[in-house]
């Protein structure tokens, strides 16, 4: 079965690495979602709400656009 990919890309994996190799569980606990949900966001299998997106950006001290990028779908 084809995987559903969103058009929102993100730099969470890179940012976790550059912030002391933060674990998924640690970041998930700080933003109030399960580790599985954070993993789905990282893999672009789920687009988070604006609230969660802002929480993630705040943890890394980055603007939202540095964490998430929108890629328009090719027609």
């Amino acid at each position: 079965m084809a995987k559903a990919k969103t058009t929102i890309r993100n730099q969470i994996r890179v940012l976790r690495f550059t912030h002391g190799e933060m674990t998924q569980q640690s970041l998930a606990d700080r933003i109030g979602v399960s580790r599985q949900t954070l993993n789905a966001i990282e893999l672009s299998k789920y687009s988070p709400s604006l609230e969660v997106a802002f929480r993630i950006a705040r943890v890394f001290g980055e603007p939202l656009e540095a964490v998430f990028q929108h890629e328009p779908e090719a027609n």
């Binding site: 079965m1 084809a2 995987k3 559903a4 990919k5 969103t6 058009t7 929102i8 109030g32 979602v33 399960s34 580790r35 599985q36 949900t37 993993n39 789905a40 893999l43 672009s44 299998k45 789920y46 687009s47 988070p48 709400s49 969660v52």
Partner: protein, 145 residues
């Protein structure tokens, strides 16, 4: 990837429902085929099935909570549940319309009751299956597909 507690909970609910209400369906089907047409005759069987369902769900969730940290559903869990229930709600609608049609043509009440029960059962099973598919396949956010 290790499933979340909520995804495990969906598996537990799906399996317990298939076992308990599946068993009810088999026994009730045999009774109907043998000509039992009194609804009251099915009540004890239904009560036993529901108690069995509750016992299975409590046991399953207890084991899941022991083996992994229980977590409250987050926004993705809630979205998956809402979308799955939305996807499967038409099955109940068909069951209700079928029940009304059966009433109009004066079908035996025992068949109407089981038609409604079956639509509820199938709709709930479909909702669980949709949830498991969304957990594995992924899904877009509120505006996505």
């Amino acid at each position: 990837m290790q499933p979340s507690f909520t995804e495990k909970s969906v598996w537990i609910q799906l399996v317990s429902m298939l076992v308990a209400l599946g068993a009810y369906s088999v026994v009730a089907g045999v009774m109907l085929s043998e000509g039992v047409d009194q609804l009251a005759a099915f009540v004890p069987l239904f009560v036993v099935s529901v108690v069995f369902l509750v016992v299975l769900q409590i046991s399953g969730h207890t084991v899941a909570a022991i083996t992994a940290r229980p977590e409250s559903p987050d926004e993705r869990d809630r979205l998956i549940r809402w979308r799955s229930e939305s996807n499967s709600s038409w099955i109940v609608a068909i069951g209700v319309l079928g029940g009304i049609t059966a009433l109009v043509v004066a079908v035996d009440p025992v068949w109407i009751a089981h038609c409604l029960l079956l639509s509820l059962f199938v709709s709930q099973v479909a909702a669980y299956v949709f949830q498991l598919v969304y957990y594995r396949r992924g899904m877009q956010g509120v505006g996505g597909v």
